[in-house]
């Protein structure tokens, strides 16, 4: 989800990512925003995102995260794998639409 967000929105700071996730999920996901940071750390360690310090719209210093090439590849792979498993589950759940 973070990767997708960064892929769509371009570089964002932590707060921005948190906001975006809440908006997209329609506030269905109300996690503590703090839990975002360990996840960001993990993605950065894997080399899927990169970070650098920058200045926000209202002139605050913040750390901006951007997706990397490796991250895009990972995103595609994850999407495919998700779609595949979602497809399988979907077929299980609606068997009557297939068959005859």
């Amino acid at each position: 989800m973070i990767l997708k967000t960064l892929d769509m929105m371009g570089p964002l700071h932590g707060w921005g990512i948190a906001r975006r996730l809440e908006q997209i999920s329609g506030d269905a996901l109300t996690l503590n925003q703090g839990t975002l940071y360990p996840a960001l750390l993990r993605l950065e360690q894997e080399g899927w995102i990169s970070s650098k310090w920058g200045t926000s719209d209202n002139n605050r210093r913040a750390k901006y995260y951007a997706i990397t090439r490796a991250g895009r590849k990972q995103l595609v792979a994850e999407q495919e794998s998700w779609e595949r498993s979602a497809g399988i589950i979907a077929r299980f759940l609606k068997p009557e639409t297939r068959g005859n």
């Binding site: 932590g14 707060w15 703090g34």
Partner: protein, 896 residues
């Protein structure tokens, strides 16, 4: 965890400060942005701040998780433990200093001995693929024999399992003359030059540091008047020492003996030949230094061969193949008729170089010494364990608090272990520094005699790695028990300061005493070892040597004769003898072809009329060529007939003097003088003119064997020793004798000067070294154990001051209190002896091969060692016991 994440985590571990600040800033920014948003939605600043925090969740919890994910928690713990441990060590400087110093000494001793073992026995030769090298040794029923040059050539050509074979005739001391450009020249005596076949460097795969090595053409022409002259490759150290690493040395001509040799190259630095410990100044092709007649002669010539296994051939296969080839060649040669099956060609691994004298003499002693210093290390560790145990008791409060606030016991043990490993590493580092000095000192102890050992014994990578590993292990060993014990406490009583003398104390006490008993047991090992060796040396000095070494000085000689014809050699010997005889202050003088109490040995086959050998027995006697005056000079007694005299000239009938063992073995004890025997391969007849009393020959241990002496004028050999009996100190006559020898014969050099007593003692060098070290280490160990005992007993007495006060108030006498305190010591000592005696009996077997006149289970030695141990321990315990008895009951009770 992916490799990439691991790398990132490790990298993060080293930038914690900056990353922590980054994280703080990032969280700060997040919260600020969140507050802005909430304000925009209409909350007050105060409410917005609260809401932002609520949305974010626990800031510190998040940071903690973030940090765990970012670095390596284990590493962080370690870092904390190390820095905490360091502070503890700095805060208790006395404990730290005592532990570090004792460990430094013990570790230093271990590292020193190991450095020497490593340099002497373990280090690979600095050559190409040392592991495929093999040493070839001709054996007859497992006894070394030597091979001839033609045999070497035949073997080299016919064999198919080795890539090539090198033969070396060993190192010979020669006189080097280095002409300078201005017409003067420098003469250097006793320079060791190695004589070998020209393929030597190619087979070993050594590179020249300068110039080149031999080419085949330089290795083909035997020495003759026309071909006098050769080439030489210098060693790197000699090039540095003598020529200041000047590359102009190439092409210069230096004289090796009398043979002018052109310098063609310098061997790579660090390469000192195939025999570790001896480093020649140069290498020359032996063929060019040997006459054709000598090369063709099918008698022994080489001492060692080196080969390189073809790839895919194992040492066992090669050995079998070469042995059968060797036997075929022997059969073809027809010199050996019977028992050809008894000859073998043994192959030994050659990766660490040649098996030779220094290594043979010291390999086992060094391992025994290693065991001794390891024992001392064990004792030192025990001492430190006791020290830490005491400190752990003092830290009960601290440990109790840590346990109480939820620190896991494993983590605490880890913390305490980190401290002890830290302590041990401190000691280890100091120990390595000690070893730089110690290994050199040890080398000095084993390096004497005419050829000093040159060996780089400075600790290398292997030594440092092993010692560091030993240090960490030692740290864990002496830290584990105290750490375990320290954390094994009930939290509540531990936090109550005054009432902390609970049951934990009592078991700690038992543990300390067990440790001290262990120390005593280990000390006993060393004491018994020292005792056995001391008595061995006493026994060896007490036996009848058969000669009188007092006032005798031995000059060992190197004789590179220019003219080797027997007549010329005979004349040369006479000249030196006659000239030195005239030196003022010399009472009597003699020459010999074999140095007394040296490893050299010559056996001569004989035919004794009337003696019927048992089947398979070879009639053999040791022999030595000596000049007139030999028996008087060395102090041997002629029992019958006469000694070798001046009338036994080159042309006179051959006369020999035999010893008592000869008469007993071969003449059935009958009258010997006047009988004739045939000796040597040529079967010359010699008449026995005298019988000399049996004397030790090259070892005090071995029983005397049949031996005969012949005049060096009649059976000339290269001169190896000059014996002088004099009342003057060595320094007063050394120069005079040197000048006399020089003026009599320029081919003879003096290699070393030593009193005969020291010459004999050299043969016991290994025993003496072990005895000295065992005594010193034994005393040290005993001291350590006694200090430990003293500490434990003093502590016990202080603990029981109140009880003792009550006893005394109730009428206990001073002696009874002393006895009560000593009784505790008795149990500790008894425990120490009970474990130490069986241990000592087992360990003493290690040195049983070095003992003389007693066995490793010698009861007297064991008793003496036990008594010494008992006495010292009681003395150490008596002081605190006295103190206990002088307790004033009033004060003790008031204190209670």
């Amino acid at each position: 965890m992916s490799l990439r994440r691991l790398a990132s985590r490790i990298a993060a571990s080293f930038r914690r400060g900056r990353l922590d600040r980054d994280l703080d800033a990032e969280v700060e920014a997040h919260l600020d942005l969140s507050v802005d948003e909430h304000i925009r939605r209409g909350l007050t600043a105060e409410e917005a701040r609260a809401a932002a925090r609520r949305d974010f969740g626990g800031v510190e919890q998040m940071k903690e998780r973030y940090r765990d994910g970012r670095g390596l928690p284990m590493l962080d713990w370690l870092r904390q433990d190390v820095s905490y441990g360091w502070r503890v060590l700095v805060k208790t400087p006395t404990v730290t200093a005592v532990a570090t110093i004792s460990l430094a000494l013990a570790m230093g001793a271990n590292a020193s001995v190991f450095s020497v073992i490593n340099a002497l026995m373990l280090r690979l030769l600095p050559v190409h693929d040392p592991r495929s090298l093999v040493i070839l040794a001709a054996r007859h029923h497992n006894e070394a024999t030597i091979m001839s040059f033609p045999m070497y050539v035949d073997l080299k050509q016919a064999q198919q399992v080795l890539t090539d074979i090198v033969a070396t005739a060993g190192e010979t001391p020669v006189r080097l003359t280095i002409p300078a450009t201005d017409g003067t020249s420098t003469e250097l005596d006793n320079m060791r030059v190695s004589f070998l076949t020209g393929n030597y460097f190619d087979v070993l795969g050594v590179q020249p540091a300068l110039g080149r090595f031999f080419v085949p053409a330089e290795d083909q022409h035997p020495q003759s008047a026309e071909t006098l002259g050769s080439v030489i490759v210098l060693s790197d150290s000699f090039w540095s020492r003598q020529f200041g690493r000047n590359p102009q040395v190439l092409g210069r001509t230096i004289l090796v003996g009398r043979s002018p040799c052109k310098v063609i190259g310098v061997a790579a630095a660090g390469f000192t030949g195939e025999a570790v410990g001896y480093s020649p100044v140069g290498w020359v092709p032996l063929v060019t230094f040997t006459s054709k007649a000598q090369l063709d002669e099918r008698t022994g010539m080489f001492t060692s061969f080196i080969g390189r296994l073809k790839s895919g051939v194992t040492r066992e296969q090669a050995e079998a193949s070469l042995t059968s080839l060797f036997q075929q060649l022997l059969a073809a040669e027809r010199r050996v008729r019977d028992d050809i099956g008894g000859y073998t060609l043994a192959l030994q691994p050659g990766a660490t170089g040649l098996e030779y004298e220094v290594r043979r003499t010291y390999a086992r002693p060094l391992i025994i010494i290693m065991a001794m210093v390891a024992t001392v290390l064990l004792i030192a560790c025990t001492n430190i364990a006791n020290l830490l145990l005491a400190r752990a008791a003092a830290r009960r409060g601290e440990i109790g608090i840590r346990l109480a606030i939820g620190c896991s016991r494993a983590r605490l043990v880890g913390q305490l272990l980190t401290e002890s490993v830290l302590l041990s590493l401190l000691g280890t580092i100091a120990g390595l520094l000690v070893a730089y000095w110690g290994s050199r000192a040890l080398l000095q102890l084993i390096s004497f005699g005419p050829v000093p050992i040159t060996l780089d014994v400075a600790p290398d990578g292997r030594v440092i790695a092993c010692v560091a590993a030993a240090g960490i292990l030692a740290g864990i060993a002496f830290g584990l028990l105290p750490a375990w014990r320290a954390t094994q406490l009930e939290v509540t009583p531990a936090l109550k300061t005054a009432a902390s003398m609970g049951s934990a104390k009592r078991s700690r006490h038992r543990l300390s005493r067990a440790l001290v008993a262990g120390q005593l047991a280990l000390s006993l090992l060393l004491l018994v070892g020292a005792g056995l060796l001391i008595r061995t040396l006493q026994n060896l000095n007490g036996i009848d040597w058969g000669f009188r070494p007092e006032h005798v000085v031995i000059f060992s000689l190197a004789h590179n004769a220019q003219h080797r014809e027997p007549e010329a050699m005979s004349q040369a010997a006479w000249n030196v003898y006659a000239r030195v005889k005239q030196v003022a202050g010399v009472d009597s003088v003699s020459l010999s072809g074999l140095l007394i109490f040296s490893p050299s040995d010559v056996g001569t086959p004989m035919l004794v009329p009337g003696y019927v050998p048992r089947p398979g027995e070879r009639v053999f006697a040791r022999s030595n060529s000596v000049s007139p005056g030999y028996f008087d000079t060395v102090g041997m007694t002629i029992l019958e007939g006469r000694g070798i005299e001046e009338r036994d000239t080159f042309t006179a009938p051959l006369a020999i003097v035999v010893n008592e063992s000869f008469v007993r073995r071969y003449l059935g004890g009958a009258a010997a003088v006047g009988r004739a025997i045939k000796m040597g391969r040529d079967g010359k007849t010699a008449e026995i003119v005298g019988v000399v009393r049996d004397a030790k020959y090259n070892s005090l241990r071995q029983p005397t064997e049949p031996m005969f002496y012949v005049s060096i004028m009649q059976q000339p050999r290269s001169l190896r020793a000059l014996e002088v009996r004099t009342r003057q100190p060595i320094s007063a006559i050394a120069g005079l004798v040197r000048d006399a020898v020089r003026s009599a014969n320029g081919d003879v050099m003096i290699r070393g000067i030593v009193s005969l007593t020291d010459q004999v003692n050299q043969s016991l060098a290994a025993e003496r070294l072990m005895m000295r070290l065992a005594s010193a280490l034994g005393a040290l160990a005993l001291l350590l154990a006694c200090v430990g005992l003293y500490g434990v007993m003093s502590y016990a007495v202080t603990q029981r001051a109140g009880e003792i006060g009550i006893r005394m108030a109730l009428g206990a006498t001073q002696p009874s209190v002393v006895w009560m305190a000593l009784r505790q010591t008795l149990t500790v000592v008894a425990l120490g002896l009970a474990t130490g005696i069986p241990l000592a009996l087992i360990a003493a077997r290690l040195i049983s091969g070095f003992l003389y006149g007693l066995t490793s289970r010698d009861p007297a030695t064991l008793t003496i060692a036990a008594v010494v141990l008992f006495g010292s321990a009681m003395l150490a315990a008596y002081v605190p016991a006295r103190r206990a008895a002088s307790v004033d009951p009033v004060i003790a009770l008031r204190h209670e």
